[in-house]
């Protein structure tokens, strides 16, 4: 399936905005993505193998975290995954 890579991570996919990766589930697809582009792994996952808290993954128009099967949701070659880091902030000096 197609995976859309955000601007800051394209340096790890040879500059490609979109890459084609096969996988039966979202997790398998992300696993194959990081096998094809190993440098991506640390930017997407923690040392414990969990998606970093600020990394959002969308299966088509759905946030994978809110799908019933989460990362084990089945995927087909017709689906598209989008990786999108979060955007937030504000003038508050130290409220997180």
């Amino acid at each position: 399936m197609k995976i859309h890579i955000p601007t800051p991570l394209r340096g790890y996919t040879g500059g490609k905005e979109t890459v084609e990766v096969a996988g039966a589930t979202v997790a398998a697809t992300l696993g194959q993505l990081t096998a094809d582009f190993p440098e991506l792994r640390k930017h997407l996952f923690t040392d414990e193998g969990k998606l970093r808290s600020f990394v959002n993954v969308y299966l088509n128009d759905d946030d994978v975290r809110y799908l019933p099967g989460k990362e084990e949701t089945a995927a087909t070659s017709e689906d598209e995954l989008t990786i999108i880091p979060s955007i937030a902030g504000g003038s508050c000096c130290c409220c997180m």
């Binding site: 955000p6 989008t82 902030g89 508050c92």
Partner: protein
């Protein structure tokens, strides 16, 4: 350096005035030009989902970002940065801005809005390669005047 048209520059500042006393936010679409920096071709307004603390926080819904990234792809642009306002606060990045900045290589434009009026607009480039070595670097904002194409009927008769 980040380059932006006079029109887009004025529009993002006006956005901050419109949402005052709340923070505005939006996305900068364009291209990174090697050796030249980011060039903005289009700004896209986004909603601030932090309605609980909109006077000093902002957040863009990931779903909206997905839509904007799709829009950028369709236009042949990339997401090259973001903008937001600091109502009654300086146009400097805060610790919150820094902690929640994850788009390395992108520009973060901040406009201070004092008593409803946009004052200063600064830009900060997020440098580094990871969460561990990221840093904000001041970057010059180059506002480009609109190109006026004069038409003349001379010689057309």
């Amino acid at each position: 350096m980040i380059r932006i048209s006079e029109e887009d520059y004025a529009a993002l500042r006006a956005h901050g005035e419109e949402t005052y006393p709340h923070e505005c936010c939006g996305v900068l679409l364009g291209k990174h030009e090697p050796g030249m920096g980011n060039r903005v071709s289009l700004i896209v307004r986004a909603g601030n989902t932090r309605t609980d603390s909109a006077h000093n926080r902002y957040n863009i819904a990931p779903q909206e970002l997905v839509r904007i990234q799709r829009q950028a792809r369709g236009l042949g642009f990339d997401i090259i940065g973001f903008y937001h306002s600091h109502p009654d606060h300086p146009a400097q990045w805060s610790q919150t801005d820094f902690a929640e900045a994850h788009w390395m290589g992108c520009s973060y434009i901040i406009t201070s809005v004092e008593k409803g009026k946009a004052v200063l607009t600064n830009s900060f480039l997020l440098t580094g390669t990871s969460e561990e070595d990221k840093a904000f670097q001041n970057e010059q904002v180059e506002v480009e005047a609109a190109v006026v194409v004069a038409s003349s009927s001379a010689g057309e008769a």
